[in-house]
Structures are given as structure tokens and as C-alpha cells.
């Protein structure tokens, strides 16, 4: 574990394994150190914002290490988000990239769909846009780099994969992920409480809707 400086009000905690990110994030929320403002989990890091008037990097660093150790010592199943039932997202698997994914992964289209639907996913982190969750747990056989030419407009509700993640696009936006299908479930509604359906640590399953 390394702790890097990000200006005078933030520290970037770099973890050895991506699975440790959610643990540290939840540990910081449940037992925030003095001066803690906000934590931003990402692929392999947690960015910790602090109030320089109430703490400083030399004091906060050891507390972040201790929090990471406490999180590592906890069995995964004790995290509250993991005890909740998985969010089930209905998907019509008719995405424009299905055949391309099948060709690049040496699988049949049916096998691509089966493997995606069989996955048990956890929201590793959010970013890119409000409510855009990076869902970890993708079948390694479906792992592909981003499209070389991103689309300028991906429809809202598109279910897609890239690298070791799957996602649902919460808004119409540009995007470079491979599109497998679509859902009508609303990922983000500013006037709903909470606005985001997916938050770090939430479990997700996809359910195939036959057309």
C-alpha cells in the first residue's frame, strides 16, 4: 500500500488488490478519521479529501493505513452492502456489438450472453458520469480493451463491457465500451432519493428478458 500526495487537501491511497478498494472505502465511512471530508473509490485507489485546518498528511497517513488493515481483517460478508439482496437489472441482449464481442472472444453470441448473465457483480466504484458504476466480477473470457473508436452517442440504459468491468450507461453520452444490450431500469434520477441506483459495494445481477 502506498499513500501519495494530491495537493494540500487530499491523499491518494493505492492498494495492492482492486478488491481492497471497497473495504477501505466503507471502513472510512463507518469510522472516519479526524478531518475526513470525503473518499472517492476508483479502480485500485481511494482518494481521501481532508480539511487541512483539522488534520495534515503526516497525521492522516497512519490512520489511513490502520483503516486499510482493519478493512483487510474483516471478512467480506460483513460489509452491510453485501448483506443486502442483489439489485436485479432486466436486460434485452440485442446490443450492436454482440457479434463483434463473440468474434474477438472466440465464443458464440449465445455463450457471450450466458456468461454475462451468469455473473455476480459488485459496484467497485462510480465515475465518468453521475450514477455510472463500474461493476466488477465480469467473466475473464469476456475481457476486452475499449473500442478503438469510441461512439459519440451511446443510448441511455445501454449494458456494456470493457476491461474487467460491465456497466449500464445512466445517461446518453459518448462511450467506448462494447454494447451487449439494454435495460429500461433508471440508473440515475436527480430527484429520486437516493438518485443513484448503484453505489460502491452494491451487488448486481443481470436478468435476461426474452423479446
Amino acid at each position: 500500500m502506498r499513500i501519495l500526495t494530491a495537493g494540500s487537501g487530499a491523499l491518494l491511497v493505492c492498494l495492492e488488490r482492486p478488491e481492497q478498494v471497497a473495504g477501505l472505502y466503507h471502513e472510512l465511512l463507518s469510522d472516519p478519521p479526524e478531518g475526513f471530508i470525503e473518499a472517492v473509490p476508483a479502480a485500485e485507489t481511494v482518494m481521501v479529501h481532508f480539511d487541512p485546518a483539522r488534520t495534515a498528511a503526516p497525521a492522516l497517513g497512519p490512520r489511513l493505513r490502520a483503516a486499510a488493515e482493519r478493512a483487510n481483517a474483516k471478512p467480506e460478508a460483513t460489509s452491510t452492502a453485501r448483506q443486502e439482496p442483489a439489485i436485479s437489472i432486466p436486460v434485452v441482449y440485442d446490443g450492436p456489438d454482440l457479434e463483434d464481442i463473440a468474434r474477438r472472444t472466440d465464443l458464440t453470441v449465445e455463450e457471450v450472453i450466458r456468461r454475462h448473465e451468469a455473473g455476480e457483480y459488485v459496484v467497485a466504484f462510480c465515475g465518468f458520469a453521475p450514477g455510472f458504476g463500474y461493476l466488477a466480477g465480469l467473466d475473464p473470457a469476456l475481457r476486452l480493451p475499449r473500442r478503438s473508436i469510441p461512439r459519440t452517442r451511446v443510448p441511455v440504459g445501454s449494458v456494456a463491457i470493457s476491461d474487467r468491468f460491465t456497466c449500464v450507461y445512466p445517461h446518453v453520452s459518448p462511450g467506448g465500451w462494447h454494447l451487449l444490450g439494454r435495460t429500461t431500469m433508471v440508473m440515475w434520477d436527480t430527484y429520486r432519493q437516493p438518485p443513484a441506483l448503484l453505489a460502491p459495494g452494491k451487488r448486481v445481477r443481470f436478468e435476461r428478458v426474452k423479446t
Binding site: 494530491a6 487530499a10 465518468f128 453521475p130
Partner: protein, 309 residues
Amino acid sequence: MTADVTEASTASPPDPADVRGAIEVLSPGPLTTIQDLGRPGLAAVGVGASGAADRGSLRLANRLVGNPEDAAALELTYGGLRLRFPAAATLALTGAPCPITVDDRAAGMDSPIRVRAGQRLTVGMPSEGVRTYLAVRGGIDVPPVLGSRSTDLLSGIGPPVLEAGARLPIGRRVEGFPNVDIAPRRSQHLGPAILGVLPGPRDDWFLPEALRTLGESAYVVNSDSNRVGVRLDGPALKRAVHEELPSEGVVRGALQVPPDGRPILFLADHPVTGGYPVIAVLAAEDLDRAAQLRAGDAVRFRVLRPSLR
């Protein structure tokens, strides 16, 4: 409290906002948004903090009219705003200095201005800087979105960008009476900007001379700059590590370096996470100055401490 920004129709009962003297936008200028101190705390679900780009100027404008420092005000980009006040109001403008007239009389920056019912305010183009803040005593009282009245131009969250014909309700949250005539401020905007930076978090992804290049070169602000970030033209900062950086959290003031090597300085509406390495982060006290950089301005960086690598 009703806070309706839709236009009142003459046939229906008067809009409560209109009764209280909602400000009429005659012309919004190039870009005017409503901003307060933002909505920190939602980055984990992908929503940035947003808020005034030059926070010191927003706070000063609010203090000048007796508002709490975090009240919502207008952020003008390159001036150009025209407003009509149906009721008497007290306001103040801070930040990038613009010519100001109330009807045909000139008024000054950094000082409370009293307008009478029916008067029109015209704000010209700033002589330097980019963003001017206009606070009204009582605050701009549009409905908050996720705890803030700030417009985040990256995510689209917050009140709409000002348009001609919009009505801006005035709130009643005040903290005292305006008790200064003018806030003497050294002009912040003259001469080349020298901004302090702290190395990291990813300075070790660059060749050792990259930090020296950053500290010794003159950069020029590119016209493709906005509330998300300031693009800088100048010598490329060369990478030592050529792998793809897994997405990680980024902060306001970060100098992110895309593959072409030219840094982008993140402002208020920056993305929550980014996939390019950040070589250094601006010192907190220079963030407001960065928000006043205009296209063509020269910028120099002063590396405030050696790299910790």
C-alpha cells in the same frame, strides 16, 4: 418558500416569486450560471462538487451585501449581463473587473450597489480575468438540486444556465447589514500568473526532467478552456511510464497530462475520476487565480517542494 423560475403569465394570479421582486434576465451574456459553494460529498456516486470557480470572489460578493458566504450568486463568464430589478435590491460585483451601469449611471466593483425598483443593471466585458460574481442581498433563491444551487456544466446537474426572460427569485437569508463601502483589493489579475504546485500524486509516471520543464517553462492558456479545466499550450511533459493508468480520483487544481503531454488544469466542474496521470496539484491559495485565466494569458508554475519520490 416558493421558488419558481418560470415566467409569470399576466392572465393568471401573480407568481409569488414575482411579488417578491424576482430579477428579470434581459440578456445573459456569453455564459452566466448560478453558483454557491457546491455539493461536496457525492463524488463516490459520480457527482463532482462544482460551485463557484473563484470561491474567494463569491465569498467577498456575499459578504459585501450581508449574505452568508455560501449564498447562491451569479457567475458571469466574460461579463455581458443585463438585468432588470422589479423591486429595490442591494448587490455587489467582484472578481474580473467589468464596467457597470445602473440605468445610465456608472457603478463600481467590490462595493455594495443599491438599485431602485424598475432599474436596469448592465455589466460590460471585463478588462482582465474571466469570471465576475454578482451577489444580491438575500441570495438567489432557485430550488437547490442535491443540496446546492450550483450548475455543474459537466454532469448537467443544477439550475439551468441563464437565458433571456428567466426570472431569478431573491431569498431572505441574510447575516447582517452591508457595513463596508468598498473592499480594497489588490488587482489580482495583472501580469503573468505564477501558480504554486505540489508534485504528485503521479510525478513518478514522468521523466525526472518533466517537473523541471513544468517549473521553468511559460505556458499559454488555450481558448478551449471552461469550468471543467484550463488547457495549456507549451512544452510537452514527457512520460516515463507508458501503461494505461487505471481510473483514479482527481482533485480540483490537478494538472492532468493527456498523451500529447500538454497539461490540463482542472477547475470546479472537473470529472470525479480520470485515466491520465496527474503530475502536480495547484496550491490551494492559487485555485481562485487559476479560475481567472483567459485564453492567451501566460502562466508559469512554481514547484513548491521537491518531489517526494
